[in-house]
């Protein structure tokens, strides 16, 4: 029982990560791949934030001296990582738009076929 | 539990009820326009009731002001959003579920 209470959060987050990861590697449509990538990354962020939580703590903004604060460091890291994520998403989506214009499709097997034909 | 708390929880409860019924409507209603109607319920009355309930929980400080701002903002934007949705749908040729498609086009389908 203790095991479950200690780790339930991480287990669900692992499940979410793997769902995202599965979408990335199994999807044939490029937009869906990018969605999967985002779900994967967002779930990793949740893992980081989960470890920063202190039971009974509050957000790390000073209220008074005797408050228990959650750990601010994971928050900082994830703020950075979110930004990195959106930057990657923007570039990925731009590539998709260009691929659509060049190949007329955003389905991986279709343009792979065309690439092989060239 | 004092008087304010009771009022506040009543308001919150009512808000939850409307939010829930809005969600049910979103799934159960027959066409796009009625669904927009159901969805706008959550933005308007449910939001008003909930924020009112929360207002009673504050001690009339900065948080109160923030909540009021949120409420005002919601009251401006959410009806506009519903309006824009419905109008675009109508311009796009979506018909009410009671109407029949005519020769000029129009469709009952929504997704």
């Amino acid at each position: 029982m203790n095991l479950i209470l200690d780790y339930y959060n991480y287990w669900i987050v692992v499940f979410l990560m793997m769902t995202g990861f599965y979408i990335v590697i199994s999807a044939n449509n490029l937009v869906k791949k990018v969605v999967g990538l985002n779900i994967f990354q967002t779930s990793v962020f949740m893992m980081y934030i989960s470890m920063g939580k202190v039971a009974g703590g509050t957000a790390p903004i000073v209220v008074d001296d005797n408050t228990l604060y959650s750990n601010p460091l994971p928050h900082v890291l994830i703020l950075t990582a979110i930004v990195v994520g959106v930057a990657t998403t923007a570039v990925g989506l731009s590539l998709i738009i260009r691929i659509k214009r060049a190949y007329g499709t955003v389905e991986e097997n279709e343009f792979e076929h065309e690439d092989d034909a060239i | 539990m004092n008087f304010l708390d009771i009022i506040s929880s009543l308001l919150l409860f009512a808000g939850t009820f409307f939010a829930f019924s809005g969600a049910v409507g979103l799934f159960r209603f027959p066409d796009f326009f009625t669904r927009v109607h159901a969805a706008s319920l959550t933005d308007s009355i449910a939001a008003i009731l909930m924020i009112a309930g929360l207002l009673l929980q504050t001690s009339f400080d900065l948080n109160t002001a923030k909540l009021i701002f949120i409420l005002v903002f919601l009251l401006i934007t959410s009806p506009t959003a519903s309006h824009a949705l419905a109008k675009s749908a109508r311009h796009g040729g979506l018909l009410l579920f009671t109407e029949k498609p005519t020769k000029q086009g129009g469709t009952n389908q929504d997704d």
Binding site: V24, V44, M51, V84, T88, V91, L95, D115 | -
Partner: protein, 500 residues
């Protein structure tokens, strides 16, 4: 002021030059700025290597905050050595690209090309210099984003799909590294590499740390294109503009190899990774498969760029093989090969770029008869090709020599044999191209437009070729640096102390 901040400058200079380039707006001034900055960075990194060799490790606290609270930049011999290669190649590629990109990238995008190049350089230098595991991830992403952009700049539409595949694989790799670093952080509470090293020792057998190691190794393996996670690399290198390929092939994957070395030796410690986890067998296996499988595939390609791209994957196999031998000579041969391979592949891809500049194609059929028509370019190609094969008096021979020595030290006869077998395959794939260049007549249609490449391309190409031969004969500089770096890395992880 400069003296004190020297360690940070290789990152800061290109980092500031990139936005400046956007403000400048015109291509020519941007090119001058980029080349100057990159040149300064290479001079600074030479200076840093010198300092590190004479006075020892440089530690620089960014923002004045001491590690582990702030971010530390930490330069020892290993990263200074790779940094010299990266910044030098970057400068030469910039010189080379001025004419090269005219044929391969739309005019309106030249300014963006140089900006992205600068960003990529900043990212790579950041990865090399930083002493903080999360900061490494941030710089990894800067260089990756710039790389995706660079690859997608070519006119051939296939570069788009190649760049997208690269983006997806690269992001998965980076996310794996992020997960791995997260697990380490969770267990140790720190992100500073040295601090991590001391604190990981406390939790050596923990399952969380084991998983962290696995994720980091897999993530980095994607980034460095270790077989079988290399599938993104050949299309990206084949379809990217030649100048970009020349830069990436000789720097990006090499920096990833460095990251692997850094994580294995400095952070986790060799004894944990290899003795407790048995990683060496896995790495060795994949490295040997990479050498044979990819050398073989390289020999099957119609496109010379594609041949060289597969050859790169095979060469990465040699580096990983060196690491997996777990002795100083092996690691040294790996580091040496990072440097030497940068010289060879830079020269080779520049030569292909020059051919592309004249003929608009990099197919083997385009190389027919070039031995007479573009003698200087093909001579450069030949010499660099001999270096890839590992002919004595070239740098390729030196790194393979140490690799074989390392294998024999461990009495792994079969590895020594594998290295020689790989060289034979290299003879095949380089030989095919040389055969076309020297013993076949050019196609009628091409005769008219073939002439020697412009000087701006020949000069950087020949600088690299001469370096190939110079460092093949006078090996004292490279071997001493690599030896020193390898010894230091083996000592690391055991002696570090962190102030409370």
């Amino acid at each position: 002021m400069l003296e004190q901040n020297l360690a940070a400058l290789p990152i800061i200079l290109p980092l500031i030059a990139a936005p400046l380039a956007i403000i400048l707006g015109r291509t020519m001034p941007i090119w001058i700025l980029a080349t100057l900055v990159s040149g300064c960075a290479s001079i600074i990194s030479l200076q840093l290597l010198d300092t590190v060799l004479t006075t020892g490790v440089i530690s620089y606290a960014v923002g004045g905050w001491q590690a582990p609270w702030g971010i530390e930049l930490r330069i020892d011999t290993a990263n200074a050595f790779v940094l010299v290669a990266v910044t030098a190649i970057s400068t030469l590629v910039l010189l080379f690209s001025k004419d090269s990109i005219v044929k391969e990238i739309d005019c309106s995008k030249h300014a963006l090309f140089y900006t992205a190049h600068l960003l990529c350089l900043a990212g790579l230098s950041g990865i090399l210099i930083t002493g903080d595991a999360f900061n490494l991830f941030v710089f990894l992403e800067i260089s990756s984003l710039a790389t995706y952009t660079l690859v997608s700049l070519a006119r051939d539409k296939r570069c788009l799909t190649a760049a997208f595949r690269y983006l997806v694989m690269g992001t998965i790799g980076a996310t794996f590294i992020l997960i791995g670093v997260g697990l380490l952080y969770m267990k140790t509470g720190t992100l500073n590499m040295l601090d991590l090293a001391t604190r990981i020792d406390l939790y050596d057998s923990s399952r969380t740390i084991n998983t962290g190691l696995a994720f980091i190794i897999v993530g980095v393996s994607i980034k460095l294109a270790l077989f079988p996670l290399h599938m993104w690399l050949p299309p990206a290198y084949t379809h990217a503009p030649s100048a970009v390929t020349a830069f990436l092939a000789s720097t990006a994957t090499k920096v990833a190899v460095y990251v692997m070395v850094r994580f294995i030796f400095t952070i986790f410690g060799a004894s944990y990774v290899f003795h407790s986890m048995g990683m060496e067998t896995i790495l060795m296996l994949f490295a040997i498969i990479a050498i044979f499988k990819c050398s073989y595939t390289a020999a099957m390609q119609k496109n010379v760029k594609s041949t060289l791209a597969y050859s790169s994957v095979a060469q990465i196999g040699y580096m990983v093989l060196g690491i997996s031998l777990v002795n100083v000579t092996g690691l040294m041969s790996g580091l040496l090969h990072i440097f030497n391979h940068a010289l060879m592949k830079g020269a080779l891809f520049m030569a292909v770029g020059a051919v592309f500049y004249r003929l608009g194609s990099a197919d083997i059929s385009a190389f027919k008869g070039l031995g007479k028509r573009m003698p200087l370019t093909m001579a450069a190609f030949t010499l660099a090709g001999l270096s890839i094969i590992g002919v004595p008096l070239t740098v390729g021979f030196i790194s393979k020599w140490y690799l074989v020595t390392a294998a024999l030290e461990q009495s792994h006869w079969f590895i020594a044999a594998a290295v020689l077998g790989g060289s034979l395959l290299a003879v095949v794939y380089i030989g095919r191209i040389l055969e076309a260049a020297y013993f076949q007549e050019p196609d009628e249609a091409n005769v008219a437009k073939i002439s020697e490449a412009p000087l701006s391309m020949l000069i950087p190409m020949w600088i690299l070729v001469i370096a190939n031969i110079y460092f093949g004969i006078d090996t004292s500089f490279t071997t001493e640096a690599a030896q020193h770096a390898a010894e230091l890395l083996f000592q690391n992880g055991q002696v570090m102390e962190v102030k409370p």
